[in-house]
């Protein structure tokens, strides 16, 4: 058989990787991280030029299926890892066939839950992780994606203005439907409940979980948060015809949750005295889309919210409420945002994403102002932050702590 490499974009350096060697025997010189933890398949992180790629060895048809699924999810704009390619037709030097490899790009500044929990999470941070996972699950379900293996291990987290945004990493079991039934959603939630509790119990057994954190309560909180968000996004509301402001109110509420309403069904009862509204199509990323449109910055939803708030403050402070929003945004970008993010010394740029640094500088300014009893200019806050806070942070650009030591469990029996 001949080696067959399918990628979205041609990358000849891929040919230099040792495809005729089983993945678990790849020499360390190719690897970007050493394996640790446990996963079902052999997974390795590989350096390829400036990039870090995750390579997973799996059956040929599963590799193709997952590659196609990840591409579909990207197209639907669901937060997920970026598929890079599939390698088929691998054989050893003796001609023995080897399984295919699915290649995904490592998501920069993403953090596996094990890495987060090994840094002594504050209790509210743990809650935010679960919130992020619930939001991801809602978004996947809104798109008709049944995951089939919801778990913390199959998720990566990125900092998002103090909160987190969750990304799907493993779509192996997933199915894409036109829409999901309540039963399919319940099935996913059932799986989530057991997997998350198991993963947290494992952290507890390894001494990584604070003593008062209860794995069952935490996993139940994901489900609860999911239902709250799902109901807010899809629930039907009735009110008197006179209370039409409630339509706008509903849309505003959804915007606040970070969702845009693309389609809303509105009906009146026979007597015409009551209005019933149900959002039909909601789309995540309300703030990040707006920020992208205004400034070209592509950042997390909460980061976008934070940046937009600062933009509003800038508009007010410079007394330009009457000006064209795009023009003010451009000035804000050039005068405020870029100077701050560019002032970070090169050796510290791998600590946090630029937008997250900006968010932290704003936070820092608030604390400094409170201490001083008066406003602190952003330049002063930035200087102090870079000197005292940022150097103490760990490097998070390429945390590859994902479980990568394979423990092949043959059965999928649970």
């Amino acid at each position: 058989m001949t080696l067959e490499i399918t990628t979205a974009r041609p990358e000849s350096a891929l040919l230099d990787l040792p495809w005729s060697t089983p993945l678990e025997e790849w020499p360390e010189s190719y690897l970007a991280a050493l394996p640790r933890g446990i996963s079902r398949h052999v997974v390795r992180f590989v350096k390829l030029g400036p990039r870090v790629l995750a390579v997973k060895e799996i059956k040929d048809d599963i590799a193709d299926r997952e590659y196609a699924m990840l591409r579909n999810l990207r197209r639907l704009d669901v937060p997920s890892v970026e598929p890079f390619g599939v390698v088929h037709g691998r054989t050893t030097a003796d001609g023995e066939p080897l399984d295919a490899c699915l290649i995904t790009r490592h998501l920069q500044f993403s953090l596996p839950y094990r890495a987060l929990y090994s840094q002594n999470l504050r209790p509210d941070t743990a809650v935010r992780l679960m919130d992020a996972l619930a939001v991801l699950l809602v978004r996947l379900h809104l798109e008709g994606f049944w995951w089939g293996d919801v778990s913390l291990s199959n998720t990566l987290f990125r900092r998002d203005a103090g909160a987190f945004a969750a990304y799907l990493v493993d779509a192996e079991t997933g199915e894409l439907h036109a829409r999901l039934s309540d039963g399919q959603r319940e099935h996913d939630l059932d799986i989530a409940r057991v997997n998350i509790a198991g993963e947290l119990m494992d952290l507890a057994a390894g001494g990584f979980l604070e003593e008062h954190a209860d794995p069952f309560e935490v996993s139940a909180s994901v489900i609860e948060r999911y239902h709250t968000l799902w109901d807010a996004l899809t629930g039907t509301e009735r009110f008197e015809v006179g209370d039409r402001w409630r339509v706008d109110e509903r849309i505003r509420r959804l915007n606040e949750l970070g969702f845009d309403v693309d389609e809303l069904s509105m009906t009146t009862d026979i007597g015409g005295t009551e209005i019933v509204i149900t959002p039909k199509v909601v789309d995540a990323g309300h703030h990040s889309r707006r920020l992208l449109r205004l400034t070209g910055l592509d950042v997390g939803e909460n980061q976008a919210r934070r940046l937009l708030n600062d933009l509003d403050a800038y508009t007010a402070a410079t007394d330009r409420q009457g000006d064209d929003e795009e023009i003010v945004a451009h000035d804000w970008l050039a005068k405020i945002y870029e100077p701050v993010t560019r002032a970070v010394p090169r050796e510290l740029t791998g600590r946090l994403e630029p937008a997250e640094i900006f968010h932290e500088v704003l936070e820092h300014r608030w604390y400094m102002s409170e201490r001083a009893g008066h406003d602190t200019p952003i330049e002063d806050a930035l200087r102090d932050y870079v000197a005292t806070v940022l150097p103490a942070k760990p490097e998070e650009k390429a945390v590859l702590g994902v479980d990568t030591e394979e423990m092949p469990v043959i059965s999928r029996f649970d």
Partner: protein, 397 residues
């Protein structure tokens, strides 16, 4: 090797005469039969039901496999039984209990996940028992069930170790233990092997099937893979478009497919199906008459669909029978498979053109035809399946 198991909590161990332990049901146990009684599921906005008046009675301890192509309603049926999918019409019973409107946790069923992970910091015992903790089972009971399951799976010496210390096979048995300790009345499995490579799939399906038989727990298993269905199930239920096509033992299903769909779906390589003209006393295969009784042919029309399995064909010496051009010969030692196509219009008599029909036959491996050869094949006597060309239903026995 696994020792003879019993189902913890539901069965007691009976010291059999040969020194083996056999699972014996406790006298007061309710029978875990499962009944789909006209069970129907229609999703809002869909014009047709995803599962349409499903009727199956599953015996206590039976291993029933639901099989069919994607979208046939098999997973939906399973979710209806699990309580995860609303039943719009009909009923579902477990034993004598109508569970149609019960919540999943009140049904005493265990849905087995497709995927499964072992937790590295937890002991083998905790890996097996943690789902019971979620279900609120008390510690002593968990320990008891885990120990019983470990005995069955030969894992007793490893209960306090970490999974890393185990061999691959032992880890697999820990995974099975996780399902066993739940001790449900019914196991529900949705494609549990779909993500395994071929070798592991074969190995694991044997283990699941043998474990299920030893435990004697009623099991409903969903797969799209008919080979898996045929090798694992006591009975197999084939679904298509939400409608049950046939529910029978694998043997019966193979020998007496109820309709053309089942005939083509069950068996690998697939049964050859072709439309052929009816003649006096049978059907005509290019000069070779396959006998079919007159009463069976009454009212079927001019043509019928004839089905012949690849292994039920023999080479014809007189240029009558099904003409096949050989495209590929797959030699398997004693046998060889011929992949080709029928080059003639089998419906010549009626003037219709059936086109080139792919054709597969198993022949003697010692003297197989060669690629490019034109051969004639006849069905072995009594090994044909006749279906009504209109309705697709089986004609005769």
């Amino acid at each position: 090797m696994m020792s003879m198991p019993a189902h913890p909590g539901r069965h007691t161990l009976y010291n059999g005469s040969s020194g083996t332990f056999l699972p014996v049901k406790e006298g007061n146990e309710a029978m875990a039969t499962v009944t789909f009684d006209n069970a129907t599921r229609q999703y809002p906005g869909n014009p047709i039901p995803s599962v349409d008046k499903l009727n199956i009675e599953i015996a206590d301890g039976e291993f029933l496999v639901l099989v069919g192509p994607s979208g046939c309603g098999k997973s939906t049926s399973l979710r209806m039984l699990a309580g995860l999918e609303e039943v719009n019409g009909g009923r579902i019973l477990i034993g004598d209990r109508d569970v149609t409107n019960l919540s999943p946790k009140d049904r005493d069923v265990a849905m087995v996940f497709q995927n499964y992970a072992l937790y590295p910091h937890m002991t083998v015992a905790d890996n097996m028992g943690f789902a019971l903790k979620i279900a609120g089972v008390d510690k002593a009971e968990i320990r008891k069930r885990v120990e019983e399951a470990a005995k069955i799976l030969d894992l007793t010496p490893y209960l306090d170790r970490k999974p890393k210390a185990l061999s691959g096979g032992q880890r697999q048995r820990v995974a099975m233990g996780r399902a066993i300790v739940r001790s449900p009345q019914v196991f529900l499995m949705d494609e549990p092997l779909s993500n395994l490579d071929a070798k592991l799939r074969v190995q694991t399906r044997t283990q699941i099937a043998s474990l299920q038989r030893r435990l004697g727990v009623t099991t409903v298993y969903v797969t799209h893979d008919q080979v898996e269905a045929m090798t694992m199930g006591d009975r197999v239920a084939v679904l298509k478009d939400g409608i049950l096509q046939q529910c029978d033992s694998p043997r019966r299903m193979y020998d007496h497919p109820a309709n053309v769909f089942v005939a083509g779906f069950i068996g690998s390589p697939a049964m050859n199906l072709m439309e052929v003209p009816v003649t006096d006393g049978g059907v005509d295969l290019h000069g070779h008459t396959v006998p079919v009784t007159r009463e069976n042919l009454a009212g079927v029309g001019k043509n019928v669909t004839l089905g012949v399995r690849p292994e039920d064909l023999e080479l014809s010496s007189d240029q009558s029978g099904i003409p096949v051009t050989v495209d590929v010969v797959e030699e398997l030692g004693a046998d060889a498979y011929i992949y080709g196509s029928t080059e003639q219009k089998l419906l010549e008599a009626t003037g219709e053109n059936a086109g080139a029909v792919p054709f597969i036959a198993r022949v003697d491996g010692r003297r197989p035809p060669e690629k490019g050869d034109k051969i004639y094949l006849k069905p072995k006597a009594g090994h044909v399946h006749v279906f009504n060309a209109e309705s697709g239903l089986r004609v005769g026995d």
